[in-house]
């Protein structure tokens, strides 16, 4: 049996297990309303999304401004398959994953040859294309009318003579979201310490050195883009079956930008950091939504607050709240390099 040896674990592991237990018992707390649960599920959803996006800018060092396109593709894949064919969510998850990955490859294979800003512009264009497609192809998506009345998630055991449970209220979704976050985290954690993850980090740190180690840049970037897109699509598939209504304007560029802010705020490239980023920005957004009207300010003022936070972060902690290990080590040693240039290494001698 699994025996948790609390004594032998380091602080970080204890903290993680503590947080997990807290997350598991949260819905049982007396003060937790449906509203709070809804927000926490939103946090989990954005954790999945930011973990997925993190692969491209965080692990590979490529700016991706079109992540929401894959989120939208996943959401509509889920919504349409449910709407027209009544497919079970458990079949939709892998289908959304695959569909996301396919679009990731279709977009990535021709465009990942571009470098830096040019690639970012293409991804931006792609996400706009997705929104335009969703709004204009009315025969498929019903356009701006949106896709209402998507079935909720259910566990159907009637094939085996069992009962059928429908997910009603927030609590079942809450636990489903936790499971999905844990799976995403598990996958990211394993990739991070693998040959694939190391190849990505190599590309991020120095492309010329990476090819000299035998890494095919295009292949590994496309793999990264596909996996990132696949997780975005899985996040979207959950979103569709959770809110049971989709419309194209849910997938505007602002969403991409928000997710990007989460990973920058949390610490690009650090999977724990980007989860903290998702937590901070989603909860802040909700808190401000409550507070701003009380102060007589418009609700949209919270975007202003986000912008302000990002400026402060860039000034004082550009590597994020929880930076990747190397940067953290340098900060500890008091040698923060605000902007690292390759040349400086050569001149140091």
């Amino acid at each position: 049996m699994v025996k948790l040896k609390l004594k032998n674990m380091d602080k970080g592991a204890k903290l993680r297990i503590g947080l997990l237990i807290l997350a598991l018992i949260l819905p049982l707390m007396p003060f937790v309303s449906n509203y709070i649960l809804h927000i926490v599920i939103l946090i989990y959803l954005y954790m999945i999304l930011s973990l997925g996006l993190n692969i491209v800018p965080g692990f590979n060092g490529l700016l991706d401004l079109g992540y929401v396109g894959f989120y939208g593709i996943g959401a509509y894949t889920s919504g349409l398959l449910t709407y027209h064919f009544g497919l079970s969510y458990w079949i939709i998850i892998p289908l959304a994953f695959i569909n996301g990955a396919i679009w990731g490859i279709l977009l990535g294979a021709p465009t990942l040859r571009l470098t830096g800003d040019y690639f970012a512009i293409v991804t931006f264009g792609f996400s706009e294309l997705v929104v335009l497609f969703l709004s204009n192809e009315i025969w498929l998506t019903r356009g701006p009318l949106g896709l209402p009345g998507i079935d909720v998630v259910s566990i159907d055991l009637s094939l085996f003579g069992g009962p059928k449970w429908e997910f009603i209220g927030e609590i079942p979704y809450y636990y489903l979201a936790i499971i999905m976050v844990l799976i995403t985290l598990f996958v990211m954690n394993r990739i991070q310490d693998s040959r694939l993850g190391r190849a990505w980090f190599a590309i991020r740190d120095d492309e010329v050195a990476a090819v000299s180690c035998g890494i095919n840049l295009l292949t590994y970037k496309v793999i990264a883009f596909a996996i990132s897109a696949a997780f975005g699509a899985v996040g979207g598939s959950f979103f569709a079956r959770w809110v049971t209504f989709l419309s194209p304007d849910m997938f505007k560029f602002w969403e991409s930008f928000l997710i990007l802010c989460m990973i920058v705020l949390g610490g690009m490239g650090n999977i724990w950091g980007v989860m903290i980023g998702a937590f901070v920005l989603v909860s802040l957004s909700e808190v401000l939504r409550e507070i701003l009207p009380l102060l007589g300010l418009p609700v949209q003022g919270r975007f202003l607050a986000f912008g302000f936070i990002m400026v402060i972060m860039m000034r004082y902690r550009p590597a994020g709240l929880l930076p990747i290990r190397a940067v953290a080590a340098q900060m500890k040693a008091g040698r923060v390099k605000r902007k690292k240039t390759k040349v400086s290494v050569g001149i140091k001698a």
């Binding site: 394993r190 990739i191 120095d206 000299s212 035998g214 890494i215 095919n216 190397a326």
Partner: protein, 265 residues
């Protein structure tokens, strides 16, 4: 003597600039060959052409190892590495944010195979491969004298150690030909003696070395043969002592007057 690398009629133009003009040479298996020349002579361009980072304008580069003959001119760098040519860089190019051992492990990339599914499911194959990667990266770190320093961050190491780490990473690709671009630059005499010793040990393991170096003590101390280029053209070739006294070479480095002076003296 079997050649490992043969370059025939190699030209490289950058627009109107002729960086390499009609370069021809052979390197034999097990040699340590020095490539020298004044700054801007085209040495690094030649390296880049062999390593696949630059595409030669014209000419042939033939690489022979394991009983295979491959024409590598214009091939992609990752393919050249997989064939068995590794290199280091003039301005150290390490993966700065990664640990020392991860840097060497990335060198193992082209000799290993596990993929996304292996990583996520941790198949038996993947676990064994990962174990082998760790073992061999420790081996290469020990070989260059960085044993037990695997957990340090690459960019936080002293300069000389970064140079050695770069060599370890190149060795991790199991090359038959190792190209070192100014490995002794910025090293103190003690460090460059260690470096020379390291180069001999690498050669004794069966790896041929092609070396760009400005530190003449290193070149004279370790190379069996020296080739000189100037303005992208072949200038001289031969034993270190011979090349050192060649008036053409002295002229290239010090100017015409100096060449005359040495001849007169």
């Amino acid at each position: 003597m079997k050649p490992i690398l043969e370059i025939k009629k190699l030209f490289k133009n950058f627009g109107g600039l002729e960086a390499l003009k009609d370069i021809n040479f052979k390197i034999n298996v097990g040699d340590i060959v020095g490539l020298i020349g004044p700054n801007g002579a085209g040495k690094t361009t030649l390296f880049n052409c062999v390593a696949g980072i630059e595409k030669p304008t014209e000419g042939e580069i033939i690489f022979k190892n394991n009983g295979r003959t491959s024409s590598i001119s214009g091939k992609k760098p990752e393919i050249v590495t997989a064939l068995g040519i590794a290199r280091t860089f003039q301005n150290i190019r390490l993966f700065d944010n990664l640990t020392v051992s991860d840097n060497v492990k990335i060198g193992r990339h082209c000799r290993t195979r596990s993929n996304f599914f292996g990583a996520v499911l941790q198949s038996k194959f993947q676990r064994e491969e990962e174990k082998a990667i760790t073992e061999s990266s420790n081996h290469f770190l020990e070989f260059v004298g960085l044993k037990g320093r695997g957990k340090e961050i690459a960019s936080s190491m002293p300069y000389g150690d970064q140079r050695r780490l770069e060599i370890a990473r190149a060795l991790a690709t199991e090359p038959d030909l190792l190209m070192l671009d100014e490995p002794a630059a910025g090293m103190n005499p003690m460090e460059s003696r260690n470096l020379m010793d390291l180069m001999r040990r690498i050669r004794d393991k069966g790896t041929t070395i092609l070396l760009i170096e400005h530190d003449m003590k290193v070149v004279m101390g370790v190379c069996e043969r020296v080739m000189v280029v100037n303005h992208g053209e072949w200038l001289a070739e031969g034993e270190p002592k011979m090349v050192q006294n060649d008036p053409k070479v002295i002229e290239a480095y010090l100017g015409t007057g100096a060449a005359n002076a040495t001849q007169a003296g």
